[in-house]
């Protein structure tokens, strides 16, 4: 009986401790010390994206409007196509101010999730702690085991086309970028893997 319990514990430990993603990759010496994402760094520019949010079988569509209003401070607002504002939040790395939100969205869990996603979307400076190569991509790791960000670049260019966020060995979310001129994201997808939430943003240009 004692051996049975020990075996059971071992099975539990082996199955619950997954490997970190870099276990499959080759370490690269002398990688970059930092990476700057250019997608939302410019002030005096209004970034306007036609956006669809799919969560637990429900969908919400509208226009996401982003403007940098100060050093690491952004206003992020979403309106329906008809024009009514769904939410308007001022976000900085440490805090946020909820300017307005419609009743259906004005819940702590929803606002916190939005703020967390937008912080990740708008973060431009990454301090790099390690660099890897998976045979196709150069992957730069920022942060420790508890909250790690893996920035994917093709070997040929400096463009970051994907960021994966891991907590331990669990992939929590990722951002995919389709870029133009390497400084501008024309399409962005933010997808969660622990909850059913996916945000698809496509740049829209008014005349």
């Amino acid at each position: 009986m004692r051996y049975f319990l020990i075996n059971l514990m071992l099975i539990f430990l082996v199955t619950s401790c997954g490997a970190l993603p870099e276990a499959k990759w080759k370490a690269v010496e002398n990688g970059k010390k930092s990476i700057v994402l250019p997608y939302f760094t410019r002030e005096n520019i209004v970034y306007s994206y036609k956006t669809n949010v799919a969560a637990y079988g429900k969908e919400l569509s509208g226009i996401l409007i982003i403007k940098k209003v100060g050093d690491e401070r952004f206003r992020v607002a979403m309106t329906t196509e008809f024009g009514n504002t769904l939410f308007d939040i001022e976000i900085s790395p440490k805090d946020y101010v909820l300017i307005t939100a419609v009743e259906d969205l004005n819940r702590k869990i929803i606002i916190n999730t939005l703020v967390s996603d937008f912080r990740l979307l708008l973060k431009s400076q990454y301090k790099i702690d390690a660099t890897f190569n998976d045979g196709v991509h150069l992957i730069s790791k920022s942060g420790g085991k508890d909250d790690a960000f893996y920035l994917f670049q093709t070997d040929a260019s400096d463009v970051v086309f994907k960021i994966e966020n891991f907590k331990g060995d669990k992939k929590k979310k990722e951002i995919l970028y389709a870029t133009q001129n390497n400084v501008f994201a024309r399409k962005i997808i933010i997808e969660h893997f622990d909850i059913k939430l996916k945000m698809t943003m496509e740049y829209s240009v008014a005349d």
């Binding site: 669809n52 569509s61 226009i63 607002a77 024009g83 240009v205 008014a206 005349d207």
Partner: protein, 208 residues
């Protein structure tokens, strides 16, 4: 110096003050009769529109544009063509959406607010929104048009809309401009252009 300041004050304030003046009760009665008469004549309407979304942190409003079609009694299609393709059709108690090829349908009946929004949009297009049971209404006039400012009485509607402003053409009494003001004071302004009344509109326009 004081006279110069007074002159400057008058220069800047008088045009604004002269712009809008309240209507007298007889002018209100004439205006409402004119609007109802113009509205009753509409069996169909098509127009181009420019929509401007104003947010307090933006220097320039976000512009979109498209076409609107209305057919008696309650068929309404908004088709955004720039900067994206998006259409929303109110038809027989349903809301049909085509979001760049992605189609969906919602029952208006299950959502009282949506039903009110539907009535409000059709009313603002036709001009027959001057319902004092639903709104506190202020009537004003200027050299270029007549204006009605509507404040919703319904508390659910108030959460979404603080005020609706309608601008009517002085001669035809048709709605030329709608401004929907939210509780945050952000607003959406819609300007109608190239209005065509009572022309043949294909039913295909109101299909998703």
């Amino acid at each position: 110096m004081k006279i110069r300041l007074l002159f400057l004050f008058c220069l800047f304030t008088f045009p604004a003050m002269a712009q809008l003046q309240p209507m007298s009760s007889s002018e209100i009665a004439t205006f409402k009769a004119g609007v109802n008469f113009a509205s009753a004549k509409i069996s169909s309407m098509s127009a181009d529109f420019d929509q401007y979304k104003h947010l307090d942190f933006l220097e320039n409003d976000i512009k979109s544009s498209g076409q609107i079609n209305f057919k008696q009694p309650d068929l309404l299609a908004w088709q955004y063509q720039k900067p994206y393709n998006y259409s929303i059709i109110f038809k027989k108690g349903k809301v049909l959406v085509n979001d760049g090829g992605k189609k969906s349908s919602t029952d208006v009946g299950g959502n009282k607010l949506f039903a009110k929004l539907n009535t409000l949009i059709i009313g603002s297009v036709r001009g027959n929104l001057l319902d004092e049971k639903q709104f506190d209404i202020k009537y004003q006039k200027s050299a270029v048009g007549n204006f009605a400012t509507l404040v919703p009485k319904d508390s659910a509607m108030k959460k979404y809309l603080k005020q609706i402003e309608l601008k009517f053409d002085k001669a035809s009494n048709e709605v030329m401009e709608v401004r929907l003001i939210e509780s945050s004071d952000d607003f959406t302004k819609i300007i109608f252009k190239n209005r065509k009344l009572n022309t043949q509109i294909s039913d295909a326009i109101f299909s998703n």
